[in-house]
């Protein structure tokens, strides 16, 4: 016999499944509510909406909820990461790292959770209706549209969305369900007979294949314990008894713990079959049973029968609920699992039974019937064949339907993380038109994994990939602590530590940059005036200060007028320019002398070592980081002056009049940067970044200081993505952060529970806007609790601990000519044939 005979599928057309009985079914992917943000009260509202909606469905409607929990395919993982496994460019660290990450994530066994709802009427075609197939099919389609409205309406009452699948998607889904994990998919086509009967006898393989048999990948065999389809063994488990009680999202939401069945790391699916029987008949039968139960409980002269009393009590309670509109429905639950060998399948079945038992379900393994039950668990295939029904009320049935969906983030991400609960991929695209701007903030306590996350962003989102762009980082951590130091070394960036004995930036621009059309450019004059006022203590207001500022400006103009070199002048040159100013006014003469004295103090003082020097620091490049930690010992006035100089470089990068070219600005240790006077710059950049094609990232460790600075309001207002890392080492700031960001109780719980395991993973709470899973043209605000795992190669790239760095240096010194990729690869994986590293 042909295996298709077990599969009562006729066709897939008009966005519907047609079964052998001519019954039509629609298939929709359920996009449920996000459990990370849902509170108990909100779930109650979902439940009430669902109960109210579903009990209004007509008699004769069939539903099937299918929970598909499989492994994310390698192709999809490669697509998300943007690299093929094993096709690595060993000359390019970033490309190699991406390929290694794809390989690592393929090994991580990432999960792919999808929930589908299948609905239709369980009335098929009669023999006479089969004679006029087209006409009957149209009638069935019209009936299906009525069911569509009812079912989608019921889901909408609970604010659940459903994305109806088209023909192509249904075919793909069916292929995935019948032959999970198959690499090559042949298109399903209707074939007309091309050969006559005689030819078919000689060449039986030329016969046209029915649609349904094209889904079945190979021969089938069966025995007591399993059915084998092609090279996979399948087992079907069926619910023998339902739990004593149910709550909404029985298969989606844990009771304060883990998501049910999430401990199962193998592929399986659960099908919940639902049928709405004719209420008049089932309730008549129910009343009759109630009478029997009453008689049994009230028998005179008998010993008290507790069981009968309980049954009678239950009948009474249920009768009340039925009087209030509840319906009696038939449900059946099947779990299907598969493996490549029988022992593996048996082990999985045992784990599955245990997992179901935790959920208070009593399940049994089918015996000699896996091959038939397997096909009944497919979308739309239960009508007419499934017979493992249980009777219950509609609210309990509603509790078994899918209501939750953990967000998967953007469709085309630059960085792929894992959902902390389900191990599904969560992708984040740094630049998206669906957001108002591409600014982001990262908040995390010390040791939470901020540096690692930033390095991963640099590697996958900023320095490579589709949103690749120029990077400028401002840090205040020093070379031993800076998040950027290692990244600069590995990815060829320039790490500039500004300090008196380190690198310097001459604040004075070259004449080429300063002069335009023979005149000093106003913005240059303004910048130099502000800087010089800061340095010469000429802050404040009033006529005296205004007159001094006029002299400062005159000095700047005079310097550039008489400057003949192509190199930039210095403050010592400015001092000479001031001395050369001729003024007849006695007051001005006095002010000028004061300014000259103050300038000499700058030139000769400690600030002179920073600001009266030629530029030694890089000011241009694709990846540039300024670390201002070297200013730590200078007075605030000097810090502010240098910050002002750096700010000017940042502005030149951000506002380069090329909005088509991506730029990324990272403000690391923002709380410290704010103390040196970068508040204005951060404010200005955040508010105007979008128009210039710039993303601004603000990274904060010291939340209290950051909060006090007053810039947090601007940051919150002008960022569309907030990434929270663990604050377990600073529990005091958890409540203020939760309050400032308006977390509800579920979000605060998720935030409070964030953890970081050094060397293993760090957890991140993303609050952003991502691609909407239903409407592709818009975005959707989400919160996701994710985990960042690193591949061994990633780990070597971001390694900042002393021992790890020393090991890297040792190998690099021993093999000075070896490419960096080879060194990191050796440290991460060990040399081929040489075993693992020490």
């Amino acid at each position: 016999m042909n295996p298709g005979e077990l599969f009562s599928l006729w066709d897939i057309c008009d966005d519907a499944i047609v079964s052998s009985w001519g019954v039509l079914f629609r298939v929709g992917e359920i996009v449920g509510r996000n459990p990370v943000v849902m509170t108990g009260t909100q779930w109650e509202m979902v439940a009430d909406g669902l109960y109210a909606g579903l009990k209004r469905l007509d008699d004769g409607i069939s539903l099937q909820a299918i929970y598909c929990r499989g492994r994310l395919s390698d192709e999809e993982t490669e697509r998300l990461v943007g690299a093929r496994v094993g096709v690595a460019d060993t000359n390019d660290v970033l490309a190699y790292q991406r390929s290694m990450r794809a390989a690592y994530l393929c090994q991580r066994n990432l999960r792919d959770w999808r929930s589908y709802l299948v609905w239709g009427s369980n009335v098929g075609l009669t023999a006479s209706e089969f004679k006029d197939l087209r006409g009957s099919h149209k009638k069935q389609l019209m009936k299906l549209e009525v069911v569509d409205r009812q079912v989608i309406g019921a889901l909408q009452r609970a604010n659940l969305e459903v994305r109806t699948l088209g023909n192509g998607e249904i075919v793909t889904l069916m292929q995935n369900l019948v032959a999970p994990g198959a690499v090559r998919r042949r298109p399903v086509v209707r074939r007309e007979p091309m050969a006559d009967d005689e030819a078919l006898k000689r060449e039986p393989h030329l016969r046209p294949q029915s649609v349904r048999e094209q889904f079945i990948p190979g021969n089938m065999t069966w025995d007591e314990g399993a059915a084998k389809v092609d090279d996979l063994y399948f087992k079907v488990l069926t619910a023998q008894a339902l739990p004593d009680v149910t709550t909404v999202g029985k298969f989606d939401l844990g009771d304060g713990g883990r998501v049910p069945l999430s401990e199962l790391d193998f592929d399986f699916r659960i099908t919940v079959h639902v049928m709405f029987p004719e209420q008049a008949a089932v309730q008549r039968s129910f009343r009759q049973r109630r009478k029997f139960a009453f008689s049994l409980a009230q028998r005179p002269g008998q010993v008290s029968d507790a069981h009968a009393d309980v049954a009678e009590g239950e009948f009474g309670e249920l009768a009340n609920e039925l009087a209030q509109g509840e319906k009696l429905v038939k449900i059946g639950i099947q779990a299907v699992l598969w493996a490549k060998s029988v022992p593996e399948l048996e082990e999985r079945a045992a784990r599955m039974r245990a997992a179901f038992a935790k959920q208070d379900f009593d399940v049994f393994e089918e015996s000699w019937a896996h091959h038939t039950e397997l096909f009944k668990s497919l979308p739309g295939m239960s009508v007419g064949g499934f017979d493992r029904w249980k009777m219950t009320k509609s609210a309990c049935m509603a509790d078994l339907l899918p209501v939750a969906t953990f967000t998967r983030g953007d469709r085309e991400p630059v960085l792929v993380l894992e959902d902390a609960e389900t191990r599904q991929p969560f992708g984040w695209q740094m630049c998206s038109k669906k957001r108002d701007n591409d600014n982001f903030q990262i908040l995390g306590a010390s040791g939470a994994g901020k540096s690692v996350f930033i390095n991963m962003l640099l590697a996958y989102g900023v320095l490579s990939g589709p949103d690749k762009g120029k990077v400028l980082g401002i840090d205040y951590a020093g070379p031993t602590k800076s998040s950027f130091k290692v990244a600069c070394e590995v990815f060829g960036g320039q790490y500039v530590g500004i300090s008196g004995d380190g690198q310097k930036i001459n604040p004075w621009p070259t004449p080429e940059k300063a002069i335009s059309g023979g005149k000093l450019r106003p913005e240059v004059q303004s910048y130099l005036t502000v800087l010089t006022r800061l340095l010469l203590h000429q802050e404040g207001e009033g006529p005296e200060v205004a007159l001094s500022v006029a002299l400062i400006q005159k000095g700047i103009e005079r310097l550039y007028e008489r400057w003949s070199s192509t190199e930039a002048p210095l403050y010592s040159d400015y001092m000479h320019a001031l001395a050369g100013i001729e003024t007849g006014d006695v007051g001005d003469r006095g002010r000028l002398e004061d300014l000259i004295k103050l300038t000499r103090k700058v030139v000769d003082g400690p600030e002179g070592t920073l600001l009266n020097c030629k530029t030694t620091a890089a000011t241009d490049g694709e990846f540039l980081v300024y670390d201002l930690y070297g200013l730590n010992h200078y007075e605030d006035r000097v810090k502010s002056a240098v910050a002002w100089v750096v700010t000017t470089v940042v502005r030149e990068t951000a506002f380069d009049n090329r909005p088509d070219r991506r730029k990324y600005l990272f403000f690391e240790e923002a709380a410290n940067l704010l103390t040196v006077g970068m508040k204005g710059a951060i404010h200005e950049l955040l508010t105007t970044a979008r128009a210039h094609g710039t993303s601004v990232g603000v990274v904060t460790q010291e939340y209290e200081a950051y909060r006090r600075s007053g810039v947090s309001g601007t940051v919150n207002l002008n960022t569309t993505t907030s990434v929270f890392l663990s604050h377990a080492s600073a529990p005091g700031v958890i409540a203020p952060i939760a309050a400032d960001f308006g977390f509800n109780e579920a979000e605060e719980k998720a935030f409070r529970e964030l953890r970081a395991e050094k060397g293993k993973y760090s957890e991140l709470l993303f609050r952003t806007t991502v691609d909407d899973p239903v409407n592709t043209s818009v975005g959707r605000a989400i919160v996701a609790k994710t985990r960042l795992y690193l591949s061994p190669f990633d780990l070597e790239v971001v390694r900042s601990d002393a021992a790890g760095r020393a090991a890297q240096q040792k190998i690099r010194q021993a093999y000075p000519n070896a490419p960096l990729v080879q060194v990191l690869n050796y440290l991460a994986y060990g040399a081929p044939g040489a075993g693992k590293k020490e």
Partner: protein, 111 residues
């Protein structure tokens, strides 16, 4: 968490209502009853055993969740070659005599 719904165990196994006889139930019952009647030479005993067998079969089916294909499944365990072959024709593809190539229209192309 939201409302807790009680699953009423008193009706849980009543989804099949009163199980009706199927042709194979009658065949099995009649075979058992007839055999006992012939062996005992008392047809009354045969009829009694037939009644008991029918009750037993229906109770068994209820216990086995109303499984209708019990005879077919029971017989399949004795099949020597337990295989469905893809090369065999799918003769029952078209229900109720509709032709195999009968199409109800539509397309398999993605929307």
């Amino acid at each position: 968490m939201s409302r807790v719904n009680t699953v009423y165990k008193c009706i849980e196994n009543s989804a099949h209502g009163t199980l009706s006889w199927q042709p194979q139930d009658l065949m099995v019952g009649a075979a058992i009853g007839g055999l006992v009647g012939i062996v005992s030479r008392y047809m009354v005993i045969g009829v009694g055993v037939f009644s008991l067998a029918m009750g037993g079969i229906l109770l068994g089916r209820r216990k086995w969740n109303g499984r209708r294909e019990y005879l077919l499944l029971w017989a399949r365990r004795f099949e020597h070659k337990r295989t469905y072959r893809r090369l065999d024709p799918d003769v029952r593809y078209s229900p109720l005599g509709a032709r195999a190539e009968a199409s109800i229209g539509g397309t398999h192309e993605p929307r």
